[in-house]
Structure formats: structure tokens, C-alpha cells
Point group: C2
Chain length 316, copies 2
């Protein structure tokens, strides 16, 4: 992503460390890792670690280790999520469970968690390990909540708590861990954490919009997948709360296993539910940018601002 | 277990901390935790943390946290192993995956790992976190190796490396982490770690013997399960290496999905393969006891010696 240009070389260091950490152990794990590294994502979380840490001066090897560990945690949760969601595709290629089977995917995820905590431990700051372990626990609780809510229409407030636990807290942590690793003052750490929390909320709202509105090819998966998984997201929740549209929508949702995706998509667009969700995402982005104002102006702050804006315009 | 009487009150503290850690988050996780706590095991690993730490004086709250974290890691690996092995029973009750489904079991395991690392972080010693994360990685590699070896007759040497990674290293770590948490000198830590490694090897060899020779009721699962999973353990490996028995045994193993368990059991006993494995286990126990000799004599050392001896006489 162009918005990461300031930390381009830092992200290359992360990629080198990722390969190094993952390819040493055994043949199968090396194969699984190659597969995961090929289906490489946006590197949003390590970029946030590096950008946040850059307020402390030049990126250090210590910061690279924390950024790599954060990406390992992210990879571990994706590998396990694919088992949970019974997903056959991830980022346009076969998911690890599809390629190697559930047993190997369970173990590969655990292995990635273990490698992450070895790296977190290596920076010799108990706050770093505690923050990372806490956020993994919160993400699990969020996912468990999503399992419990399966097929149930949550309220908008419940939706926000769920995406906070599932997504925003970890993006918040990425910023916080960068600040910790760079030894920033606590008030700067808090501002960066708040920034991360708000773009994390925006990020998930946009993901949930894209699940309905994206071009399947750039998204790398089909449209309307969430409802097929029994997960109601903001556009649907909002449309169901509108008297003019809820009856028609309820008819479409009567058989949640085979929803008429094209009709629902059209309704979400016409009813203004997609637009509403976009407004919510934009207001999180504004709030994120506001928390940066007390931080020193310069290229790092501009990169974070650009990143926040990029989140609402991306198409995958 | 009577051999744990010296740390009985310490283990009660561990149980209180386990319940406390697991019941706070959400309803489903509380239910999963209750289920796991009911199917409670032998508490071997936390007992080893406490006994090892006792060489540093009276058990501290710090030691309780490490002992609890070690048991949480153990619980996490069991929950995930049951998914990997497609197991419906664990310690005589339904396994978590059988009771709650694979998605919840994946998440519950991750949640237990996360809680464990929060506790490890709380003792403010990066060596503790690093040791714990490293051993989780090694256990995953060991399990992955077992997946790779599925249905393949490993050599005796390969068997020992596999059980080292799968079992012995974590029992070694339990002793080492107790020594670290109690601030013992490095040479005492090494002696305790070596003790743990050797009883860990003995423990797994005895487990593998019990898979063939135990009374199914006291074992809490059926006999001959390993071979049904495509896992060849020491008694089988040894019998297959003996010219007098290997032909007959190979006939029995021709259809590994439906092995004639009673006949194989009889052959392992008659051929002396069970006896051979018992000899191996005993020699690990002797080696374990030898590494205690340089440690101060007294009730703690006697308890560890008794524990080492108990491992070879247990029936489940």
C-alpha cells in the first residue's frame, strides 16, 4: 500500500523475519508457512506497529520483532478462523485447512502463536507480552460471541461490541505495542492506541460493507458470505430496523442458508443501509484522525492520517 | 495423588486460580471451562512447578501463577489434540469438541493459551515467557511430525525424538519454570530440568504401554487407540523389530483401521515387547532420580523421587 511508503523498508525487514521464523522447524510447517506467506495480506498491523514506533525515532530491530510477532498472531487467527468458518478460500487462494486439513491447520495456528510469543518475549518488556496475550484472549471471546450469536439479529450496540473484540482491539494493540517497543511516553501511547481503536472499528465496518458491495474478484471471495455464516452485520442490522424495508428483507432472510444475495444487495443499496454504514465508517476515521492531533506533525503523522483515509476508500 | 501431598495446598491454590481465570469472560467460555475442569487430570505439571519451586523456600503466589499457566497450556493442547485426533472422549467424559463442536474447541484452546501467557507475563521475567512459548512451539512440531508419520513405522530413535517433543520437553519445562519462578541458581534449574525431561520420557513410554495393557475403565478410553490413529508406539516398534514376531504382527496390522486389538495385545505381551518398554521406562526413572542427587536432601527431593517411581506403577 502506498500509504506505507514511510515504513516500506521496515515491512521488508518484517517479511524477512517472518520467513526466517517460519522456515526453520520442520518440512510440513515450512510448506504451510510458504502457503501462508504466498497468500500474504495487507500487512496493516505490522505497518501500524512500525509507524507508531517511528514517533520514537528510527525503527529498531526491536520494533521489527514486535511487528513480526503481531503479523504472526494475525496469521494464526486467520488459519484458525478458516477452520471455524469452514472456509475453503482465503485471500484468493485455498485456505490452509482446505490445503492441509483441519488437524494441520489447528497445529499450524498454535505454532504461529508460539512463535509470536517467543518474539514478544525477546523484547524483554512484560507489558508487551501482557498486552499481546490479553488481546488474543479478547479476540477469542469476540469470536466465541459471534458463534453464540449465530443466526441471531444483534442490535447495533451489540454489533459494535462484537467488532471491537474481534477486530478493533487488535488494531489498537498494534499501535500500542509499537509505542511500547519504541519506549514512547504513556500519553503518546494512549493517543496512538485510541487512533488504532477507531481505525479498527472503521476497518471492520468497511469489511462488512465490502462483503455486500465489493467486486468478488478484487475481494478474493464471494459476496454475501457473512449471512451464509449466520452473521448479521451493520448494513443488514440497520435495514432491518427500518420499517419501510424490514418486511421485504425478512422474507429474503427466511432461508438464511440460501439467501437471494443479489436481491438483498439491491435492497441494502436502495434503503440507504450501505450509505449509513459508510457514514459510520467515516465518522470513526474522523475520530481516529482527531486523536492524532496532539502528536507531533510530520511525515509519520501524515502517513497515519493517509492510512485512516485509505481504509474507507479501499475496494478489498 | 499421594505423592503430591507436600504441595496439596499449592495445588488447591492452582485450582482456585484456574476457576477464577476461566470463569470471568463470557458464558460459553465459562461453560466450556466448567466442562474442562470437571474432566480434571492428574495435575502432574503444576505439581512439578510447585515442587521444583519449593527448593527456593515456601511456595509463593508467583509460583502459583506459573503453575496455573502451565496447567492452562496443558488444557489448551488437550482441547486441540482432541480435534486433531477426532476424539470423542477425554478422561472418561465427552471431549470439548464432542460437547461443543470443533469451532468452539478451536477458540477455547486459543483462549486457554492466551490466558496462560497473560499469567506468564505477570511474573515479569522474560525467560519465563520465552521458555513457555518455545515449548509450545516444540509440542506443535512434535504433533505435526506425528501427523507426517501417520501410518508409518518409525524407528525406535524416531519414536524417542517424537515423544521428547510431544511430551518430555513440556514436563522438563514445568520443572524449569518452577525453578525460574522461585529464582533458583542456574545449576539447580538444570538438574530439575533434566529430572523433568527423564520422567517426561518415562511418562510417555508408560502411556504408550497403557494404551495396550490397561484396564479400559481406569484408563477412561479404549485399548489400542493409538494404532487406530496410525500411531506406532514403542511396544509395537520393538515387536516389529524381532524376527520371531514381526511376520505374525504384520498380518495383524494389514488393515490398520480395524486391527485385531486382542490378538496384538497378546502378541506384545508374549513377545516381551511390553516388558522391554517397561524396562525403558524404568531406566528413564533411574536416570531422573540420579539427576536429583546433587540437590539438597529433604521432603521435596523425596517427593520428586516418589513421583518418579509412581510414574511407572500407575494404571492410568
Amino acid at each position: 500500500m502506498a500509504v506505507f511508503s514511510l515504513v516500506d523498508s521496515g515491512l521488508r525487514d518484517v517479511d524477512v523475519m517472518l520467513s526466517d521464523v517460519l522456515r526453520r522447524d520442520n518440512l510440513l510447517m515450512a510448506e504451510v508457512s510458504d502457503h501462508l506467506l504466498k497468500a500474504s495480506g495487507k500487512r496493516l498491523r505490522p505497518a501500524l506497529v512500525l509507524l507508531s514506533g517511528t514517533f520514537g525515532g528510527f525503527p529498531s530491530e526491536r520494533l521489527t520483532r514486535v511487528a513480526t510477532a503481531v503479523e504472526l498472531i494475525h496469521m494464526a487467527t486467520l488459519v484458525h478462523d478458516d477452520i471455524i468458518d469452514d472456509a475453503s478460500m482465503r485471500r484468493g487462494v485455498a485456505s490452509a485447512r482446505q490445503r492441509f486439513g483441519d488437524p494441520v491447520a489447528v497445529l499450524a495456528g498454535d505454532f504461529l502463536f508460539a512463535k509470536a510469543f517467543q518474539l514478544f518475549a525477546s523484547v524483554n518488556d512484560p507489558r508487551v507480552v501482557h498486552e499481546a496475550a490479553q488481546v488474543v484472549g479478547i479476540m477469542c471471546s469476540g469470536e466465541i460471541q459471534q458463534q453464540l450469536d449465530h443466526g441471531r439479529v444483534a442490535s447495533e450496540a451489540e454489533y459494535y461490541s462484537r467488532i471491537e473484540a474481534k477486530t478493533a482491539r487488535f488494531i489498537e494493540s498494534s499501535c500500542r505495542l509499537g509505542a511500547m517497543a519504541a519506549g514512547l511516553a504513556l500519553d503518546e501511547e494512549e493517543l496512538l492506541a485510541r487512533f488504532g481503536h477507531e481505525i479498527g472499528m472503521a476497518f471492520q465496518v468497511v469489511d462488512d460493507i465490502l462483503d455486500w458491495s465489493a467486486d468478488p474478484e478484487s475481494l478474493g471471495k464471494s459476496v454475501g458470505e457473512d449471512i451464509g455464516q449466520g452473521v448479521y452485520t451493520l448494513p443488514l442490522i440497520h435495514a432491518l430496523e427500518q420499517a419501510d424495508w424490514s418486511d421485504e428483507l425478512r422474507v429474503y432472510l427466511a432461508d438464511p442458508k440460501n439467501p437471494p444475495v443479489a436481491q438483498i444487495r439491491e435492497l441494502l443499496s436502495q434503503s440507504g443501509a450501505i450509505h449509513y454504514a459508510e457514514t459510520v465508517a467515516s465518522s470513526y476515521v474522523e475520530s481516529a484522525k482527531a486523536s492524532l492531533e496532539a502528536l507531533p506533525a510530520g511525515p509519520t503523522r501524515s502517513s497515519l492520517e493517509a492510512l485512516a483515509e485509505f481504509i474507507v476508500v479501499r475496494d478489498h
